[in-house]
Symmetry: C2
Subunit: 430 residues, 2 copies
């Protein structure tokens, strides 16, 4: 394994033998972890290190002290939040990114990294069926970000940067640009949604708010439409909202909640951002050494090459099929209700036994909290919840790389069992 | 290798055999890359992929199309910008981070990740000899960020967040907080430095600006001191600046330019941020799913465990020793001058032959630009430059994981040869 203890004088950080030894040990460790991950419960000593230690000791501590304290996001029974995909290919890509460890913050710092990013960003746009004008090949373009927050802030920076004098524009640091983005909270409009629109924005609601602001002499700046909200997977009517935005010259940002690190088998962090005119974006993001961008493109590139569009479609369809099956099972059980129609692979439901009437929200709230707690405490599955219109809703988000139909069936069986116990107890108590 | 072409139906993203096959292929690829990296010049087809491909084909394309277009940051002769360290241990750590792929954005999402982060952040603080009160063990604490920009923005968010009404304070999304940070450019003070103070800030200069602002009724908010500036490695007098900041109740941020991803054998991205009172920081950074934090702590933890403090000290001293040797060599050659005294492992120098007088800055500028271009064009080494007081300064930043004394000697020999040619030519022309 080439993994001996290290004394100070023997540190040769990239010695190829030590590299292969340490890395091989981790590979074996991870292969075994994936083989056994469904056996772990899904949810889950500090002396300063003066002297180097063997890799085996470090991995033994990971096994003994860290794994037990982890929530196992790669478990096939992880249905919480939104699962973060992993795959052998993204791992290979991440290894290439980490191994080459180039820092493409300026073109000269690694030309191929910038070029590869344009390739994969176009591939993703093609895969998602984006309008041609958003692709580099169509005059648009995009970048890979670490997270949706970064992506949204960047588009705001663009809007603002283009409003700034060149003096501030030339300050390279993203920090300075960020500081220029100062929208007072009083100018934020959080527009109410309702079950009538499946909790999506309606163009009428947006138009009403915008018109009122315009009448007050305000200038509408930025509209964010969402395709797949975090809580319920709600989808806003992008085209209609786009028409409102265009009429008022607002920047329209579509949060498609489809980061490669969510559903495209690419591990965190990797988020795609497209803009129709990438020039402002590049001028807002380039030339900042301190942002030390990682070579994210190569891991997404390896994933797309290794599995292909066909493989990714099949992977996503497998999840949607399982979610459809689960939704039908919930709908067919009179003790449960589907709270909002399934979108993508997210099922939002709750326990609602006959004896608890419309007006009995307090009881239902308590029962569903107990039900979710019981399921998660079992360690056999992990789900999270969302509260909408005062209703406590349980979310089943299907998206694990190893999640198959049988895991959806298992969690449904588990839910039914826990529901029986609960209802029985409430009957006795009531 | 278990690396067959994939058709849609065969996508099993974490199948342990496929995982070991693909990952093993990348390991071999990278071990060979490190073995040969000093042979590469240091500076350096897109049909949509409908069908999956074998790993070998993907790696062959990396070899043929990507490596030639990379700037090889891991080359021992990379002396540009600031080198980004890599090591077998950080790679092992990065593999663990990518392999476990947990997303510790809230405690429940993975308790051990948060706990491990407090451990390694304290270790780093201990290693840097930070005051006890900045460590978790002393009531302070910190986090791992992706970059210095993130770190600085976070501290500003803290300042602002604490000034906000609870209504805005409770908006979880970092996006919203970022939007609240709106400092008009007119309120930025960029304070001049000079060679007299080695291009560090002086407390007097800061005091003068602050007093003037206070007299005008402004409230000084934030002072950033730097230990090791990007261009010249200048060091600001932290204690004296701290006294100015304390007198006016300003937030003092020290940018120590010592990110683990720079000099501590940990690959990008990994940047430490400490604060005396971490509560504001955690409330400013927690509960944002979209920031999808990576499990950075484990890679820094593996580096510290594997090499130990002693190993890291020895690693850094090796770089400083090489930089000292280079500085002495430059000083001893009457054709060159050291422009500012060496700090850490950064040597800032320029060619200045006798025949070019004080008043001949134009000639010197041209000669040094040509000299740097000639060295970089050779592909045998890569350096960058900085302009200070109108002088074009060449920077030798020693910090590569594989960089040893002989590489500093080689680049000096290379510089002398190119300088001979240049001076000879200028003599003929002049």
């Amino acid at each position: 394994m080439g993994s001996l203890p290290l004394d100070a004088s023997s540190v040769r950080p990239l010695n190829p033998e030590a590299f292969s030894g340490d890395s091989g040990a981790v590979l074996d460790f991870l292969a075994k972890y994936y083989r056994d991950v469904d056996k772990y419960p899904v949810r889950a000593a500090d002396l300063e290190p003066e002297h180097g230690e063997p890799m085996e000791d470090v991995l033994e501590d990971v096994r003994r002290d860290i794994l037990p304290g982890l929530t196992h996001w790669q478990s096939p029974s992880f249905f919480a939040f939104f699962p973060m995909n992993a795959s052998a290919a993204r791992f290979a890509g991440e290894m290439l990114s980490a191994g080459l460890n180039v820092v493409p913050f300026v073109w000269a710092a690694s030309p191929a990294t910038a070029e590869l990013e344009t390739v994969v960003v176009d591939w993703m746009g093609w895969l998602l069926g984006l309008p041609q004008r958003l692709l580099f090949s169509g005059g648009g373009g995009g970048v890979l970000q670490g997270s949706t927050c970064e992506a949204v802030v960047c588009t705001l920076l663009v809007v603002y940067a283009s409003d700034q004098t060149h003096a501030t524009f030339h300050k390279g640091a993203r920090l300075f640009k960020t500081l220029l983005v100062g929208i007072p909270p009083s100018n934020f409009r959080v527009i109410q949604t309702s079950s009538a629109s499946g909790y999506g924005l309606t163009a009428d609601a947006v138009r009403a708010v915008v018109d009122r602001d315009v009448a007050r002499g305000l200038v509408p700046l930025y509209l964010c439409a969402t395709v797949g909200t975090t809580g319920l997977g709600a989808v806003d009517p992008v085209r209609k909202l786009g028409e409102v935005a265009r009429r008022h010259g607002m920047w329209l940002h579509v949060d498609a909640a489809m980061n490669p690190h969510k559903w495209f088998l690419t591990n965190a962090d990797c988020c795609c951002l497209w803009v129709a005119n990438p020039r402002e974006l590049t001028s807002a993001l380039s030339t900042d050494p301190d942002q030390s961008r990682r070579f994210r493109a190569i891991k997404l590139w390896v994933v797309l090459r290794r599995y292909g569009a066909g493989g990714l479609r099949e992977h996503i369809r497998r999840h949607v099929t399982a979610a459809k099956w689960f939704e039908r099972a919930v709908a067919a059980d009179e003790r449960f209700e589907v709270v909002v129609p399934r979108k993508f692979s997210l099922v939002c439901f709750r326990l609602r036994p006959r004896f608890a009437g419309e007006d009995d929200e307090t009881t239902l709230d308590g029962m569903n909290r107990e039900l979710l707690a019981a399921v998660n405490a079992s360690g056999q599955a992990f789900m999270t919840h969302f509260v909408v219109d005062g209703k406590f809703v349980i979310r089943l988000a299907v998206g694990g790389a190893m999640t198959e139909m049988r895991h959806a069936m298992d969690v449904w069986e588990l839910l039914q069992g826990k529901a029986d116990d609960l209802i029985h107890r409430y009957h006795l108590e009531g």
